[in-house]
Symmetry: C2
Subunit: 361 residues, 2 copies
């Protein structure tokens, strides 16, 4: 199978071998050593001196954690959205009582830092800004460096959904002043789903101290106090921690700049491959993501039939469009454990099946 | 290693083999089939026609889910507690704004149904009752059948922490009218941690419709709407789902009555084994748990040293006491993938190391 969705991503054999290991005591010395080691490695890859915690939940759970640990009901929040996941971040904040001002950009484009500046200047009550680094639903990577500079000019709290970016795309957390950054194990980390990783800045801790949204399972304060003894407050997904430990060693061996460069090559290779088939990208190419490529379903092709045939007949698994893009685009994931041959296989399979997946036939 | 803590519990080889399998699309047909199958099997083992959901979190996360999906801030709740986990359930409800009336029983004893009756009669405003079925911290199993009869006499909502009971100890969810029942994969289910399983009754759905505590990641309504298409709302811990599928087949093959009987035998075997060493049980033996046995550290023995020596020198891993029982008891887990030889090994190792683990030596 060639699993080319934006997550879960395929795992290296060494990772799967580790994931299948027998249980240990999550309160014992062996687990303590493991958690302490991976926390340090994660800090390196997050390029941060901030606290980093491993939570047992999906990326969405970690987005919720970012919100409930830093905000109070009624807090004015700017929700910058360029797609499904930006909208989800805003919805989570609204669910917990934040007063969310939406700043939506046309899907397929990136957020405009000047528009963010305008929104912040117009509404001094805004306390925090929610931003998606890489929007999986549209295949767009925001210019988070530029966005964060604007947010920091105004001294606002910056909560970042980096679920499908960090680990694959450069995100220097401290340099950019990102206060909470969240990701999920099943993305660029080459590990099965089940864990989320979050970084928490000093400014985020100040917000935490004042934040009144209730929290228990996702409580950063509990995570911090347990991490001091090399533990998590609640029983963690031990198997996935095993896998993450191996994956982080693999990432360290490859080297961070090499990982970013590889994803850059894979993004370009995917885009040129699909364009070579006469297909068009959904995203504005200036901001096209190096972890997931969204492709317009061409006229006369049934996008769902295309994906079904490729999956059933060739074992090539792509994702469809989400929400209002359902049936209109398909998406190719190229993050984590991915190299050129898998993408070449996707392109060749598309070449074969695009003519076979005619609409109304 | 002989891992004899109350969870994570050891997993059978077949389960670990499945846990180590490669990723698939969690929105594809293969995962849909898997989730649909295990949901049906879980309903059988929960002895329920209620909805059953698989969440990606620990058991504590599922306790939180029980609270946030059924209660509103200010709701009067009776928190029946016989130890650390009963206290945790009450704390979660309080964190989310419930007005919790504590009904604490002496640790080591079970909750008295007549006292629950008295509390409910005295305070008609109580809307829901929180009960721990099996209290892992003290090794006591509440008489949940009797407790549920009282709660149902008064027509109250019954939220049950069955984390370390269901799957090992009989809990006929529908017969006893339990409205929300939560458990964790790393207990009797013989699967690594990372998943929680919950059942939700019609009465709990009525409470859900009125409940005002905010929820997003843990939202039962979202879980229900996605389960209709064989999915979870957020990316699930796929590896642990693989493992659970195999474990449920193993449990089905063993048979539910055989599983309960085996845990009954293991509980009795453990109790007689430690008593044969001259040790005393922490729990009132009438209510001693068949999944975990709490043993008093005898005078003159350093409980921490005992556990450390057994672990380091013999690979026998037991748990210490939690909270105010730290250093005063140790606990032997005998739930899930456990048989007499592992317990005999614990007893023999205790026999050898009790004299070696003298206090102040």
């Amino acid at each position: 199978m060639n699993l080319r969705i934006p997550g879960p991503t395929p795992c290296p054999e060494e990772v799967l071998h580790a994931v299948g290991k027998q249980m240990i005591n999550h309160r014992g010395p062996e687990f303590c050593e493991l958690l302490t080691k991976i926390t340090g490695q994660l800090k390196d890859l997050f390029q941060t001196k901030n606290d980093v915690f491993v939570l047992t939940c999906s990326g969405t759970g970690a987005m919720e954690a970012a919100v409930v640990n830093t905000l109070s009901p009624g807090d004015r929040v700017l929700g910058v959205s360029i797609g499904v996941f930006g909208e989800r971040f805003a919805q989570i904040a609204e669910t917990y009582g934040a007063d969310v001002k939406r700043l939506d950009f046309e899907w397929g484009t990136a957020a405009d830092p000047e528009a963010v500046r305008g929104a912040l200047a117009a509404d001094p009550a805004i306390k925090a800004v929610l931003v998606t680094h890489n929007e999986t639903s549209t295949g767009v990577t925001n210019d988070l460096g530029a966005l964060s500079r604007v947010v920091k000019e105004f001294g606002k709290l910056l909560l970042v959904d980096a679920i499908s970016s960090i680990g694959s795309i450069d995100l220097p957390v401290d340099k950019w002043g990102c206060d909470v950054v969240v990701t999920g194990s099943q993305k660029g980390w080459m590990v099965p789903p089940g864990l989320a990783m979050v970084s928490v800045s000093a400014k985020a801790w100040d917000a935490y101290a004042a934040a009144k949204i209730p929290r228990f399972y996702m409580d950063f304060g509990k995570a911090k106090s347990y991490l001091e003894k090399g533990q998590t407050p609640w029983t963690p997904a031990v198997s996935i921690v095993y896998g993450l430990a191996v994956a982080l060693d693999l990432m360290q061996a490859e080297g961070w700049t090499n990982i970013i460069a590889r994803h850059g090559r894979l993004g370009a290779f995917t885009r040129s491959g699909v364009k070579g088939l006469g297909l068009s990208l959904y995203a504005d190419e200036k901001y096209a993501s190096n972890t997931v490529t969204a492709v317009n379903v061409p006229p006369g092709v049934d996008g769902k039939k295309l994906l079904r045939m490729m999956r059933e007949e060739k074992g090539v698994v792509l994702s469809g469009g989400q929400s209002r893009l359902d049936g209109k685009i398909f998406r190719v994931g190229h993050l984590g454990y991915c190299h050129e041959p898998e993408i070449a296989n996707v392109v060749e399979t598309l070449r074969e099946y695009l003519p076979k997946a005619k609409a109304n036939s």
